[in-house]
């Protein structure tokens, strides 16, 4: 089920330049949410009509709380960044399919790049694989490292070399000689392309979380399609909906 709620802000904190952490308390969304899903957040300003899709970073089902870690990229997210504890925000969710938690594989490697890092926190916590290794790629400033380290072994890559491996997530994989039975990745498109190619070359099952400009967020408007190998269930062409059929796809299932 998807719910539209007026959620109470529990805590808002800036955790890096332009990166904010927002905890909200929901009525029903948290209990039904899973890693890799997202919420639509609505602006209070009528001049901004469309919801902003924001990925779920952490879920506290007992406390009915959800954490989102997001980058301020425009006026909508800037408005969200000003929310304080006690404020309310209209949200819709949980949306999208989320990551598969039981793939029958032994060792999972989670690769997050930039603002694709946050979903890896809850995923690392809930994956049913025996072993979980997280690789987080940053431009320079680190965030969420404590949370990620708690979920499994953490490797860091930074573009400027200020921490961990100098380079991107795949540079860290090579430098640290990381092996994987299944890969989960979320990040910018060039990273996803590289991870997909790497997984294909090594014959590793690979799940990627995609991003595309959305309007409705529920699969009706057909704005956020991506090219798929198989015929899609909606239009019977090759256009899977990122918001509904995704955002998580098997890397071999989509053309990047």
């Amino acid at each position: 089920m998807k719910y539209r709620e007026s959620a109470a802000v529990v805590e808002q904190r800036q955790i890096a330049a332009d990166i904010y952490s927002l905890w909200i308390r929901t009525e029903r969304i948290a209990e039904e949410a899973g890693p890799g899903q997202f919420l639509s957040l609505y602006s209070k300003d009528d001049s901004r009509m469309l919801p902003r899709p924001i990925s779920i970073c952490e879920i506290d089902r007992e406390g009915k709380r959800i954490r989102m870690v997001y980058r301020v990229a425009g006026k909508g997210t800037e408005e969200f960044s000003r929310l304080q504890a006690g404020d309310h925000i209209e949200v819709l969710g949980p949306l999208g399919n989320g990551f598969p938690l039981n793939t029958g594989k032994k060792k999972a490697v989670l690769m997050g790049g930039g603002i694709g890092i946050p979903p890896m926190v809850q995923l690392a916590r809930e994956l049913e694989t025996e072993e979980v290794q997280v690789i987080a790629g940053y431009r320079d400033e680190l965030f969420l490292t404590d949370e990620l380290a708690a979920g499994g072994g953490l490797c860091i890559a930074t573009e400027d070399g200020s921490a961990g491996t100098k380079g991107n997530v795949l540079d860290a994989v090579r430098e640290q000689d990381v092996t994987a039975d299944v890969i989960y990745a979320c990040g910018p498109m060039p990273m996803l392309r590289a991870v997909k190619a790497y997984a294909q070359e090594k014959g590793i099952e690979c799940w990627i979380s995609m991003e595309e400009r959305m309007a409705c967020g529920i699969g009706a408007c057909l704005a956020c399609v991506c090219q798929s190998k198989e015929v899609d269930s909606h239009t019977h062409v090759h256009n899977k909906r990122v918001c509904k059929d995704g955002p998580v796809f098997l890397s071999t299932e989509v053309e990047l």
């Binding site: 089920m1 998807k2 539209r4 609505y42 009528d46 001049s47 901004r48 009509m49 469309l50 919801p51 819709l92 595309e212 400009r213 959305m214 309007a215 409705c216 967020g217 529920i218 699969g219 009706a220 408007c221 057909l222 704005a223 956020c224 399609v225 991506c226 909606h234 239009t235 019977h236 062409v237 090759h238 256009n239 509904k244």
Partner: protein
């Protein structure tokens, strides 16, 4: 209190419907409320074969609205009849199928297929600004509009709504052309052609370069065109363009619309169309309006 309205012999329980392309075939929104709350569901455009639509990005937000260039992605008439129509039949609401095509023959083929189906009205989309062939080509030339209306009417069993484009110099000329061609109802407005440029990437915000603008920012243009059309033709009008709440809907009705469609607002609030229907009743109670039809075109 009466909220029922008639459109070409079809009775709607209330004048609120969904604008084509914003509501799919209703399935996604049925997860939020019972579609029987609506006067009608207007489907996304259906062609005679599946259409893949335009490249992404397909949408961009603008102040008080958005641009879209989806490009009429749709599964085609076969899937629509097999999957979407039976779904919609489960609800106590009228079904209006939006029909798109690239040639007159395409439109007629879909209309003919629908003649045997449980569809209440047909809406002919001759005003989509986002596909190169067909669509808008028919919607900006009065002679072409009259001709396609006449052709479609030959194949149509159900009453025909012609959906007009606002991207014309004189909307009344187009309305009269559709009326002469035998249209039963007019709907307006489709989206207004617009453009947005991403100054950071120094490129167009949507891949199609131009897109159709919708949302509350276009409402005054839409109300004006509905008013002008109501003065120019005798046909019933379905008004739309930026309707977000019952107050907006009442404006259109007072300007001459017999029914209204909620479009972009569905993206901002999945309950928007139902809230408009409920809000209309509240407006009627507040102003002691016995019959909603008293309001149609009441402002001259």
């Amino acid at each position: 209190m009466n909220t029922k309205v008639m459109l070409a012999g079809v009775e709607l329980k209330n004048p609120v419907m969904t604008a084509s392309g914003t509501f799919g075939s209703g399935a996604e929104y049925s997860e939020f409320y019972d579609l029987s709350a609506l006067g009608a569901v207007v489907t996304k455009g259906v062609a005679n074969a599946p259409w893949a639509g335009n490249p992404t990005p397909r949408i961009a937000e603008t102040r008080g609205g958005m641009l879209n260039a989806i490009g009429l992605q749709n599964p085609g008439i076969d899937v629509f009849i097999k999957r979407d129509l039976p779904f919609l039949k489960k609800y106590d609401t009228k079904i209006i199928v939006n029909v798109c095509g690239k040639t007159v023959e395409d439109y007629c083929a879909v209309v003919e297929r629908l003649s045997a189906e449980p569809v209440d009205l047909l809406e002919i989309n001759v005003s989509c600004p986002n596909v190169k062939e067909g669509g808008i080509a028919f919607g900006q030339d009065p002679k072409a509009l009259e001709a396609i209306t006449r052709e479609v009417k030959k194949y149509a069993i159900q009453p025909v709504i012609m959906k007009l484009s606002p991207n014309v110099t004189d909307i009344t000329e187009m309305a009269k052309a559709a009326e002469s061609g035998g249209a039963d109802v007019l709907s307006l407005i489709n989206t207004i052609t617009g453009m947005k440029i991403d100054i950071h990437r120094r490129t167009f915000a949507i891949a199609n370069k131009t897109g159709g603008m919708s949302g509350p920012a276009v409402k005054p243009v839409a109300v004006r065109m509905v008013y002008q059309t109501a003065q120019a033709v005798k046909l019933p009008i379905i008004g739309m363009g930026g309707i977000c709440n019952a107050e907006d809907a009442v404006e259109f009705i007072l300007a001459g619309a017999s029914a209204v469609s909620v479009g972009t607002a569905n993206f901002a609030n999945p309950y928007a169309a139902r809230e408009v229907a409920q809000g209309l009743e509240a407006y009627m109670r507040k102003y002691q309006v016995e019959d909603i039809r008293e309001l149609v075109g009441a402002v001259r």
